[in-house]
Symmetry: C2
Subunit: 120 residues, 2 copies
DNA sequence: ACTTTAATTTCACTTTAAATGAAAAACATT
DNA sequence: AATGTTTTTCATTTAAAGTGAAATTAAAGT
């Protein structure tokens, strides 16, 4: 599906790959579920981002978790979320946290810490 | 809250204790999430039932699981549901399964195996 | 047996989370 | 400035979970 040579992918391609609407990816980002690299204002999703998103979808649709609880686990850096997590996704998760925390991203995304705000 | 001497409680009392509508308890029963003892057609909830229901609520509201996945875990008798389950609730769960399977209940509840039917 | 009483069931409605559609806005590029 | 593309906003849709109220049914009392 994805060319091994490339290292990042535009939102539309990722959405298509995941079988969801790109709007849903913006939606997830509002809750800090993913934070793709920004070059200018355009988003670039890494393979880690994509694996991570796949895992989030799995948590939702196979383990029946809701977004709220996934977000809570992330905020806690909860070991629970890693327990049953495939090896490679653990790495993605750590990369995700690192990026999220260290602010590798170029542009401060507003509403970054809206996570949970709109979720009641 | 509950008198230690008694061993079972009517639906309204249980609903009030759990802070939910009694209608919700009927709703859960449709999906075989709980099966109180029936005397005549009236329902009597044991302490085990109540602990079990409290745990189900916890799974939903603290662990963010949806009914569908909880039901699936029950159907599988999945170890997962027991892993993080408090000791006493494990017992309740086993009692629940035993009662559900052995049919201690007096009246065959229709829609007993509707579980998952209405959940899409 | 008949009436009364109370639990249950049915049906339709409300609420909320999750996802999405479409148009407006914001940038980059030419 | 005009064009094209991504993003954002706003409103709507969908489905799960929960609930209200009336209709139904069974038990209990007379």
């Amino acid at each position: 599906m994805f060319d091994e040579a490339d290292k990042s992918y535009p939102i539309e391609l990722v959405a298509e790959f995941l079988g969801i609407n790109s709007r849903t990816l913006y939606y997830y980002e509002k809750f800090s579920l993913v934070c793709p690299l920004r070059r200018g204002r355009k988003r670039y999703y890494s393979k880690e981002d994509i694996n991570w998103l796949e895992y989030v979808r799995e948590l939702m649709y196979e383990h029946g978790m809701n977004l709220r609880s996934i977000i809570i686990l992330i905020k806690r850096r909860d070991a629970v979320i890693l327990d049953r997590c495939p090896e490679d996704v653990v790495l993605c998760f750590k990369n995700y946290l690192a990026r999220k925390d260290n602010g590798t991203k170029k542009i401060k995304i507003e509403g970054e810490d809206d996570a949970l705000k709109d979720i009641k």
